[in-house]
Amino acid sequence: MPRYDAIIVGGGHNGLVCAAYLARAGRKVLVLERRERIGGAAVTEEVFPGFRFSVFSYVVSLLRPEIIRELELPRHGLHILPLESTLTPLLEGGEAGNYLAQWSDHDQNRRELARHSLRDAEAYDEFGLMLHQMARAVKPLLGMVPPDPASLSLRDVRGMARLGRYFRDLGKADFNRLTKLLTMSAADFLDEWFENEALKATKSASGIIGTLLGPRSPGTAYVLLHHYMGELDGVFRAWGFARGGNGSVSAAIAAAARAAGAEIRCSAPVDKIVVTHGKARGVVLEDGEEILAKLVVSGADPRRTFLQLVGEKHLPGDFVEPLRQFRFRGASAKVNLALGELPNFTCLPGPGAHLRGAISISPSVSYLERAYDEAKYGEPSRQPYMDVVIPSFLDPQMAPPGKHVMSIFVQYAPYQANGGWTDARREALGDTVVDTLSQYAPNLKKAILHRQVLTPADIERIVGLAEGNIFQGELTLQQMFFLRPVPAWAKYRTPLAGLYQCGAGTHPGGGVMGASGRNAALQILGGA
């Protein structure tokens, strides 16, 4: 008799969410994590003595409010500190005042935008309202198990009908707008609203994050909206830094799971998912230990889950084929810096409110597109897009008193780099990042005490994300909703009885959202 009702492969945040929901429903659950710590890509590590980093994912924006609520994450230690602003330094001239900032205070923001464009300052509110309405229309899809449009089962037909109703309720103008969002590039879409380059570039950046596409690639407009969902929950204030780093998101979920009776084992790498007669029976660890369970739920990405842990021979060909086509193409790197002092931006000198928010190196749409151009041909961008945050400025416990940690999300750094990722290439990438950022904050180089550079290859090696894709598979339209990860298998189920998926490789995807884990658990509990 299996000792467990369910084994969760991988202690990433989705695996933990799934475990927590299953355990709360009375199931006996075991989570197996390969690394010595839980969290997957949502971890806090003291990389250098006294300096703690959200090593991979670094902000909380899309974490589902219902998960925060139902798992009582604040009671289990989650405290989200608000991320207040976005600063886009501009290089030309390199003098004080040469920046574009977006502030959370309405009047302050409007005045700042008006400095650059009176038209944009006025359009800003309307744009926000439009995205709000769009996001509200699309948001119910996030918590929904995607119906299969090709199926005639009652449940799927009902699901499609529900979907139809959402779109009908949108009204004509909004429906047209949604169609545009689904088909246009982020740059084109933003062109319809704004004229300032820095504003368009900074806004378009959320359409390309984590994806090997440029702001002028069709389909990126929708990803903008996807990221806006977090802001929609602005009332829930889910947008910010987790106090103690993103590891505390995982820690809170794990605490909720344990409180509900789930068992979590670290340093327990799964070697194989045991399959007999078309049914998953349990797992075998790398050390040979076999653990049986009624269900196996994999939080690993689809490639690792099926091609590595299950093995092709257990899977039907018409499943394996689209699985091979599922695209990862990691496009981003991460640089973590330990700093002896705060960076001093030429455009806005001194420590100030601007250091409490994000700093976006995105001076123009062309800058971003050029960065992409190089990546298309297998080269890291010479002038990359960067999303920089200084968590220690808001949460001083992340660094020794008076010292700081800086997290730099870098794009593009293509997984398939010409000649592969070598140590030399990694350091060259680190130099590019530091050199580029130093153009805006000249004291940066001398402030650096330690540097950690993580290429897509490093991300794949350390946390197991295929090709270092931060979303467990590109978040592009052809890989979303009922197509994620494979058409007809988008409901967390798999062709194997007793095997489920709960990672970001399933609908609705990545971004430390937790929705995949929750949806999978609900599917298991509803259907098992």
Partner: protein, 389 residues
Amino acid sequence: MLKTTPFHERTATLCASYAWRRWAGYVVASSYELSHEREYHAIRGSAALFDVSPLYKYRVRGKDAARLLDHVVTRSISQLEVGQVAYTPWCDAAGKVLDDGTVARLGEAEFRMTSAEPNLRWLEDNASELEVEIEDVTESLAALSLQGPASRAILGDIELKYFRLARRYLGDIPVAISRTGYTGDLGYEIWVSARDAIALWDYLISVGTPYGIVPAGMLALDMARIEAGLMLIEVDYVPARKALIESQTSSPFELDLGWTVNLKKERFVGREALTREASRGPQWQFVGLEIDWTSLEQLYAEVGLATRLPAAAWRTSVPIYAGKEQAGYATSGGWSPLLKKYIALAHLSSRFARPGTLLDIEMTVEHRRKRAAARVVKKPFFDPERKRA
């Protein structure tokens, strides 16, 4: 003319919001920045610095000082050790709360009492024939409250137990530090001569900056004290001195302060009335309420809106219902950004006050009065281990 506190020179230049609030005839910042959000999160995430100088402060000295205070307040004062602090209400003869504050034993025969309302006359009237000297030190003694997980480190890893007081030097400034506050978090109040006020402010900002110290105003404090389940005079209760009708008054039992009433004391103002009430149980209770998110979301969805939440704590009287009957009223509430919960403090008729009881709270949604589900919960809503540890 409103007065300014001894820290005004510093707080005025910081107050970018121009949002000031009156407090006991003084002005203090509501928030320094345009939004109080960061100030609020500093209370729970790093350290927040509040100017609490407007508190009324009395020095009570002399052979009978303990006797006087024991006679006035409901808790036992003579049992306090030197360096110990007690939170306590005090009542009129009918056992109705006049005020609440702290009493600190500074020496064998020396105490400091803080209060929200003036109490010199009340103390003097109760001191007839006692050998005691009462001095109002409200103006000469300034006070800062340093609250939050980093507060201990900022005070040089001070070793001071919960509700204890010690004299220290911060830099070269003589101060008294008490491990007290109004946030329900790890925190301290620092008492300093008004002369040294500015020097103390500068010292704390300078030492505290690497730890993330943030000057914070009353809006942030208000939300934190609700999370801590701490009541506010004139908001959550009417002091008996100001009540126009009897039903406006409250006993300590009705305010969930039964634990502060020491009926074993031989005599104190209100003892007889409180003894009677203790035996029959209070008619009202002061409880925590959690407003059900799904129910609130539903109210907004019905009119096609995403849920709206108050940006700051509110302090109005809001009816609470049990079916058709009014079970009581909430007096403060708000959205807790930390707990991600909509919480309120409420007075409920005792039969509805048991934790877990399901009730309805009135909510105005798009100009229409609706009801959202709410549940009675234990206070405090937030009670971190570090508070006492």
